[in-house]
Amino acid sequence: MKRADELTRAVEAVLFAATEPLTVDAIATHLNGATGVRAVLEELAADYAGRGIELVRRGERWQFQTAADMAHLLRRDRDEARKLSRAGIETLAIIAYHEPATRAEIEAIRGVQISKGTLDVLMEAGWIRPAGRREVPGRPLLYATTPEFLLHFGLASRRDLPGIDDLRAAGLLDPIDLAMEHAGMLDDDDVEVENGDEEA
């Protein structure tokens, strides 16, 4: 950087430490009535042009600020992976299979109320969108999935979602108690046989 004379250095320091933009007079007063402050300011503004810091004039007041094209650096987005809650994934599944669906319809299928937050999260994730209103009393809002939804779940279209028969074949429709029993029985059997061997 260019060597700076004492007045320039003083103006630089005063402006840097100031909590608000300063007029030429205010700067001069701060520097015990120094003259030539305006010229120094013009020079400094030129000096800093193209750096990460710039000296700008706002009306009659001057201030240092972060270069305008560097503003995006002051705000950094950090992605945080978060897993969808059980209510979230169920709500999404119902919309995907039944779309478009109103909130009341989703609740009827789930058998539980859904909070507003659940729909908000799905909307924030970009997976559902409002899709008009159902023309019934109260005109409730309809929800449908988005192209991002298909993209995220690797589906060419909603028709790629497995149907009820596929789900049954995959054991995903088995009542929970029976499925548990199957698993439990098998385990117990194995244990039984082993114990028997040991005792023998």
């Binding site: 705000r75 978060r82 969808l84 059980r86 169920e90 999404l92 599944a93 299928i109 789930r110 995959a170």
Partner: protein, 248 residues
């Protein structure tokens, strides 16, 4: 610090203990602390304490203790050296000098430190920084399997379900009672409970038979129709018909 001895008496409260006072006196010798005369220093200290007494100033006990110790040191330094005395007066004198040097060094270091250009007093940070912000953005994650499984779960929950009790291979308690009471009569020696199970019983049926036979054995034991023996928890359980005498 460089006050004359005369003013020292008046500023007694200003000293942080005898060592502090000694250092002030030593610095009055206006020589490097390495060169100070310990004897002269001792004399100055003792004079100071005497003056304070004359002026009837109340001296803290530690000043008097130091005075006594210095008087002892002085006599040790002046008298012909007795090699039996440990530590030697010279050693004590050196030690005192080293302590004064160290206190002096830290006092000067502190003064230099505090006189530095200090942040917020002499040197300043930017008056109005924009600040840096980190915005956390949630990236929601879910797998296709989670989605499908969730739908399966809902369907299973909401779909009308017909409950059918499966016909399971079991041995009822009555059956077991009959079987065990019949078999135990034919067997005089101790036999494991497993030996009472039907031949070839496997899987769920074997489990059921074992459980029922066990309950049957307990019931028969209660009625005095069978004796049970087990060495320790989970050890094999043995059954036998009661001795003819006892049964009678």
């Amino acid at each position: 610090m460089d006050a004359e001895p005369a003013t020292l008496t008046l500023e007694l409260d200003g000293w942080e203990g005898p060592l502090d006072l000694l250092l002030a006196l030593a610095r009055n010798q206006k020589v490097d602390l390495k060169q100070i005369s310990i004897l002269a220093l001792v004399d100055q200290y003792l004079t100071f304490v005497e003056e304070a007494k004359t002026l009837q100033l109340e001296l803290a006990a530690d000043y008097l203790v130091m005075a006594a110790w210095l008087a002892y040191l002085k006599s040790g330094l002046l008298l012909p050296r007795d090699p039996e005395i440990e530590p030697s007066p010279e050693e004590l004198a050196l030690r005192l000098q080293l302590r004064l040097e160290r206190l002096n060094a830290m006092r000067e270091a502190g003064a230099r430190l505090i006189a530095r250009d200090r942040l917020g007093r002499d040197v300043f940070l930017r008056g109005a920084p924009e600040g840096l912000r980190v915005v956390r953005k949630a990236v929601w994650q879910a797998e296709i399997y989670d989605l499908i499984a969730a739908y399966g779960r809902i369907s299973a929950r909401s779909r009308p379900v017909m409950h059918i009790v499966a016909n399971r291979p079991v041995m009822t308690l009555d059956e077991a009672l009959n079987r065990v009471s019949r078999l135990v009569g034919t067997n005089i020696a101790w036999s494991t409970i497993e030996s009472f199970l039907p031949e070839g019983a496997v899987g769920i049926f074997r489990k059921s038979a074992l459980a029922s036979s066990f309950v049957a054995a307990l019931e028969l034991a209660r009625q005095g129709r069978v004796e049970l023996r087990q060495k320790s928890p989970f050890a094999p359980l043995y059954l036998k018909a009661p001795d003819a005498g006892a049964a009678a």
